[in-house]
């Protein structure tokens, strides 16, 4: 009984261990030096990777170089040496890219250095705009001279209005550039960097914009107006945001049913036809235009309207992101889906960037319902991913989705996990098979297989009439002897008494005189085909187990055999045999 409890306890314990191990099979957390080598006071340095190089020392000099670079770029633009300015700007962009990588690698994106990186990015945009627009403005000045010499008023108007758009963009770029000055100076002073060149660049930038203003104003003044048959233009409202519609109206005097071109930021947006009174109208939907200031004018042949400025304000947006990992073909391991809406309306054809924490990005475009979906490849590890939209090409405020944390694994990790699961299932199946086989085997052992006795005629002969067999023990007597042995703790003898009683009955029936010399299975063979043979087989199996087993017969075994004996004896007729 005691042993059974121990076995049960061990089996239960094994099951618990298997369950615990099974739950950890795919991501085992085992004892390691890392688990115990860090306390509130210190960390064991032997478990920490040594850094190969100290990139941190390169950050401050790199910042200094970047700040110094800005001065020459703006100076070259002012001197109209656009080639040199372009080269300087490209070098500046390349250096900024390296610096950004350094900051990301050092995980400094959320520090003052990260702030410097953002300011530097804004400055690159401003300087790029200044260079691009200055170069174009300079080209326009050349064209203006040519068209004036040719006496081509239409081209002259076109040049003038484009110049106006350029001037406005340059003013905006300057405002952005100057707005970064205080933050950049703060960071620079913290790290002891010289900002003389940068300060000079801000002043030079202002001077370039001032020169452009002067040139553009004189150009505008030189435009001959058609005061007899003017082309007028008006818009309502002059400030709009996503989803609004701007009403554009005007009159082309004394010109019914004429085609009037409407230009937004110097690009033809739409043509409208005048009615019988020369009036025209159109609605401009604010859906695909960047935030900030824009210009609009109308033209018909050589007749031009005034230029009107309007402002697009950033609208709040809602951006969702759902990201899942998996194998999506072509090495893509992430699927990103989500929606973009603003003021309750879906935003169509909007570029959405999926930005993981290490900086690279995947781009998607929303459909008519504002939904986007894309796959991409991301570096392995635990990644924090966001979806982002900016207001550069859309009338939306910069918006980022809630971050989604992904665990991106190597392909082999997934395979290994699968293999480990398969191995676990295999082991489980083998274990189950073993248990089932053991149970079956034990059951089969309980019922012994009958054996045929090799016949020895001398021994197998009927009792001679003269020899009386000794009187058979009654079941009561057998039980009494059994109880006697049991009381003395002689369990083996008690069991033997039961067996001999059964063997005696079978020997009498089958006329086997020397049944005591037969093996239990031979006795079973002699009784095969009789009523109760199944119970007899169970009895013999149990008897063999207790009598020939390696362990001492226990009280429990003896009691079990007594129950078997009673059933066998009952089938054999009880005491009437």
């Amino acid at each position: 009984m005691k042993r059974r409890y121990i076995k049960g306890f061990l089996a239960g314990l094994s099951l618990v261990v298997i369950v615990i191990c099974g739950s950890l099979v795919t991501s085992p957390v085992l004892y390691s030096a890392e688990n115990t080598s860090s306390t509130a006071y210190h960390t064991d340095p032997t478990i920490i990777t040594r850094s190969q190089d100290t990139d941190a020392g390169a950050v401050v000099p790199a910042m200094g170089d970047l700040i110094e670079s800005t001065g020459t770029i703006v100076l070259n633009i002012k001197n109209k040496d656009f080639k040199a300015a372009q080269d300087d700007l490209e070098n500046y962009i390349a250096a900024s890219r390296s610096f950004n990588n350094l900051v990301v690698n050092l995980d400094l994106t959320e520090s003052e250095i990260g702030e410097f990186m953002d300011v530097n990015g804004e400055n690159i945009e401003s300087l790029s705009t200044l260079l691009e627009e200055s170069e174009r403005f300079d080209d326009l000045s050349t064209l203006e001279v040519v068209y004036r010499d040719e006496g081509n008023p239409e081209a002259l108007y076109s040049v003038t209005y484009e110049g106006e758009a350029l001037r406005m963009k340059m003013q905006e770029a300057y405002q952005r550039y100057a707005a970064q000055q205080s933050s950049l100076l703060n960071v620079s002073s913290h790290y002891g960097l010289s900002t003389a060149s940068y300060n000079q660049s801000v002043e030079t930038f202002a001077a370039v914009v001032g020169e452009t203003d002067t040139a553009q104003e004189s150009r505008m003044d030189a435009i001959p107006k058609n005061d007899v048959f003017p082309l007028t233009l008006g818009i309502e409202p002059t400030t709009a945001t996503f989803g609004d519609q701007i009403l554009i109206t005007g009159t082309l005097y004394h010109s019914p049913e004429r085609e009037v071109g409407i230009y937004i930021d110097s690009r033809l947006w739409k043509t409208a036809f005048t009615d019988l009174n020369g009036r025209y109208a159109a609605y401009y939907p604010v859906t695909a235009i960047g935030t900030g200031k824009h210009l609009i004018y109308a033209a018909q042949g050589s007749r031009y309207s005034d230029v009107i400025e309007f402002t697009i304000l950033p609208a709040p947006a809602t951006l969702t992101l759902t990201a899942t990992t998996g194998d999506y073909g072509n090495g893509d391991n992430v699927l990103c889906t989500g929606t973009l809406s603003s003021l309750g309306r879906p935003v169509a054809n909007a570029p959405v960037e999926i930005v993981p924490d290490y900086g690279a990005w995947i781009q998607a475009v929303t459909d008519e319902q504002g939904r986007y979906s894309c796959t991409g490849q991301m570096n392995t590890g635990i990644r924090e991913v966001r979806a982002v939209v900016s207001g550069e090409v859309l009338p939306l405020a910069y918006t980022a989705s809630s971050p989604v944390v992904l665990e991106i694994q190597h392909a082999w990790v997934a395979f290994a996990s699968l293999a480990m699961k398969a191995v676990a299932i295999l082991f489980f199946a083998l274990g189950l098979d073993f248990v089932i086989r053991s149970i079956r085997e034990r059951r089969s052992k309980r019922r012994a297989t009958p054996l045929s006795r090799r016949e020895i005629p001398v021994l197998r002969q009927p009792f001679p009439p003269s020899l009386e067999m000794p009187g058979m023990l009654t079941p009561a007597e057998v039980t009494r002897r059994y109880a006697l042995h049991l009381g003395n703790g002689e369990y083996g003898e008690a069991v033997r008494t039961l067996y001999l009683s059964i063997a005696d009955r079978i020997g009498r029936r089958a006329e086997i005189r020397n049944y005591a010399a037969w093996t239990p299975r031979e006795i079973l063979g002699a009784a095969s085909g009789t009523k109760g043979a199944t119970h007899l087989a169970t009895f013999v199996g149990r008897y063999e187990l207790s009598h020939y087993g390696t362990a001492e017969t226990t009280h429990g075994q003896a009691e079990a055999l007594l129950r078997c004996y009673s059933r066998v004896a009952e089938f054999m007729g009880g005491g009437q045999d």
Binding site: Y41, H42, T43, D44, P45, T46, I48, S51, D55, D107
Partner: protein, 294 residues
Amino acid sequence: MVRIKFIRLASAAIVVLAISALFLHLSTTDDEFSRHNVGWNGTAVFAGKVEDAGGVMLADTAALPDYRDAILLLIAPEGEIPDSEIGYYRAFLEHNNTLFIADESGASNKLLREIGSEIRVVPGNISGFDSGYADASLPNGYPEGGHPLLEGIEVITFNHPAQVMGGEALVSSGLFTWYDLDGSGRMEAGEPSGRFVFISREQSGGGEVIVCADPSTLINAMLGRGVPGDGVTFADNLLSYRNVVIMEGVHSATATTGSIGKSLEYLKASPPLQASIMVVCLLLAGIAWRKKYV
């Protein structure tokens, strides 16, 4: 017969080995900074160096005023030092000795204030990218000035240091160091950054006070091979700085130990007890010899 003897001998050897292992296990400890802790976070290596250098383990602060030309090493102080003992430290300094405190918890601030020092330990986690490891919590410190303690030192690796304020800076962090307020290991907006002082000194009360904001520089793991920097040289310089080296064992975490360790400590500090045990051993040996041969 020979076989039985061999089995007995082997059994006896196994028993002796097992008892030795058990004794060794029970006599050591895993307490932080303990000089009986031979693990990575103990100071057994440094305490061994102190003993090799002829240093003494201070068991009673009342003995401090007797020392001359000495350096007292108070490593990882625990709890506040009672007012009744502050006078001993003052007297120690008055004799032109050096008090070296390695503390990151701020437990030594009361003592520093009472002895008239301007230096204070500011607890906190200073992390830095100037590190020999891919872990910002082990920042480098760089010597400033020409103090004899810094001879032969170009860089010291610290391990989760705090910072010290006041006094003359001896060792400071690199530029990319910050106060990791949230323990994220990342330099984030709002976390003070720049240079921080790890070791500072000043003349105070007739002697010299040196305060290091990281006792972990003296743990076994930091004095082992393979640790970048000159931490070992710094430890050696501490031992050779003055004629006498005293390791404070009253208010320091280096003194913590297990029960058997305490007994051994008591035994080592008590000559009468040592003599008694010696007498008992001799008596037992005499009885055994008498039984066998007389």
